[in-house]
Amino acid sequence: MRSRRPVVASLAVLGYVVMIVPLVFIVITAFTSGSTLRFPPEGWSLRWFSEALAYKPFMTSLVSSLQLAVLSAVFALLLGVPVALAIHRGRLPGRSLLEGLFLSPLIVPELVVGLALYQQFMIGLDLDNLSTLLIGHTVLMFPYAVRVTGASLALMDPAVEDAARGLGASPLRTFFTVTLPLLRPGLFSAGLLSFITSFNNVPLSLLLQSRDFRTLPVTMLDYVQQNYTPIVASTSVLILAGTVVIAIIAERTVGFAKIFGGINA
């Protein structure tokens, strides 16, 4: 970064420091050989990594978290893409009102959403907690899906779709051969964003948990309240590593500029 604006540059550096330094502490303590979360570590070992991998509640809930994040991201896209299409391509009256309505889950506190789902679905309809969590997370992800794919749609020249129609493609064919391929970076970023948001979610998952189905952040939170071993640090490092791998794959396949370029529109 060769910025000629020193104030902006130093703020950026400060931002990175604030974000990264705490992570550095976590990463370092994860490699401790001692049995408490303490900095500096008493010695070095990988023991807490094998402990983390062997600790069943964490691994079970990791699988649960991944399941939930993938499924809710997919559902959010399946619902969000048609809505984004209707808003941006359809001739709907009150377009902006509609868009505002679809973004509203962002404003309602998650605890309120969680409580409502708990009362209406789990108690009222006697749904199991995986289904209820899935509904809850999908509702939470939905605004991201609408917004991000909507931004890509807004950036797309509608004449490109007109051109396909003019050349003989039905609306459905146009969607699959032109709109969808051009939307791919937008879908990818919306999916990634949804996945990460779901994976990190605590309030909703906390309210809707059960003994059989509990997400990793909730399990870790639970654990930290009773124990203070470096196993949470090593688990965090594993998650961090996983995230970095996803980020690298995303960068290699689509490119960050393209993925997140869709958001700022």
């Binding site: 020249d157 004449a159 490109v160 007109d162 051109a163 396909a164 129609r165 003019g166 050349l167 003989g168 493609a169 039905s170 064919r173 051969t177 032109v178 391929p181 051009l182």
Partner: protein, 345 residues
Amino acid sequence: MSASTTQTGTPAAQFRAVTQKFGDFTAVDAIDLDIPDGKLTTLLGPSGCGKTTSLRMLAGYLTPTSGTITIRGRDSTRIPPEKRNLGMVFQSYALFPHMSVADNVAYGLKLRKVESAERTRRVTEALEMVGLGHLAGSRPKQLSGGQQQRVAVARAIAIRPDLLLLDEPLSNLDARLRLQMRSEIRRIQSETGLSVVLVTHDQDEALEMSDQMVLMKDGRIQQQGAPHEVFAAPANHFVAEFLGYENFIPDGHGAELTVRPEHLVVTTEAPQTDTTGALSLAATVLDVAYRGVDVLITVEAATPGGETVRLLSDTRAAGAPDLRAGDRVSVQAPEAHLVRLPLKS
């Protein structure tokens, strides 16, 4: 309206009482229009005149509020674009960015189930027609604006459309390329024999390219005909002004005369009294602008009805009288260059 002498045979397309309303706004107001077969027709007019709306209705992207559009004898008013077999070239080119140039051109052929060998042949043919045979494997992003425009034309003609529609195809190109593309599009039109409809706001483009030009304003057709007919005999004030007639002189009898600046002569002689149809008015020089090849002289002249009008003369610099602001002069124009118009409503 001057009779159109260019139309022969069955028209490629017809508009009958076609109206397009957007809410309270009437974009196209009950127009009747014949698009002649095998000719290049331009729809010309300022922005908001309804020319692009008319083209989009012809292409099927808009359904007329009322009226009928017939393409090749078939009522097509409500037929969706994909069932019309028209080649459309968009102002923004609208190439498929995720496909190669060849795949862009092949897109319409694949949908028509043209088999592979024939498809390749026709893609090559279309790309060679626009001089881009060597770029078949490129991506649209790698091409210049002019090249993208040519790909768009190749993609549209590859399907052998019933009509080729061009929406302001040259407005995104730089001035030199624009001139080159004008003759290029003319060449493609005459080589393929396609019926072409071109939308433009540039009167020079329309005059140079058209077999038939259609001037529009406020959703209505103002005049149509061969360029030389329209140019020599504008039907009303708007058409005259749009085509560069800058001098409008009320004749005192409810009509007005117009003459192009290059046909208005400024002399130091006294105005003639017996003009028998020619124009001759006393005037005062307001401004003289020397421009190298020619001189622009602005004068203030008294009309037969006793009004004062500002007139512009565009004279060749060589042999122009040496004038200054305030000089008393006369302006003259022969009858052959005067056009009588109904008074502007």
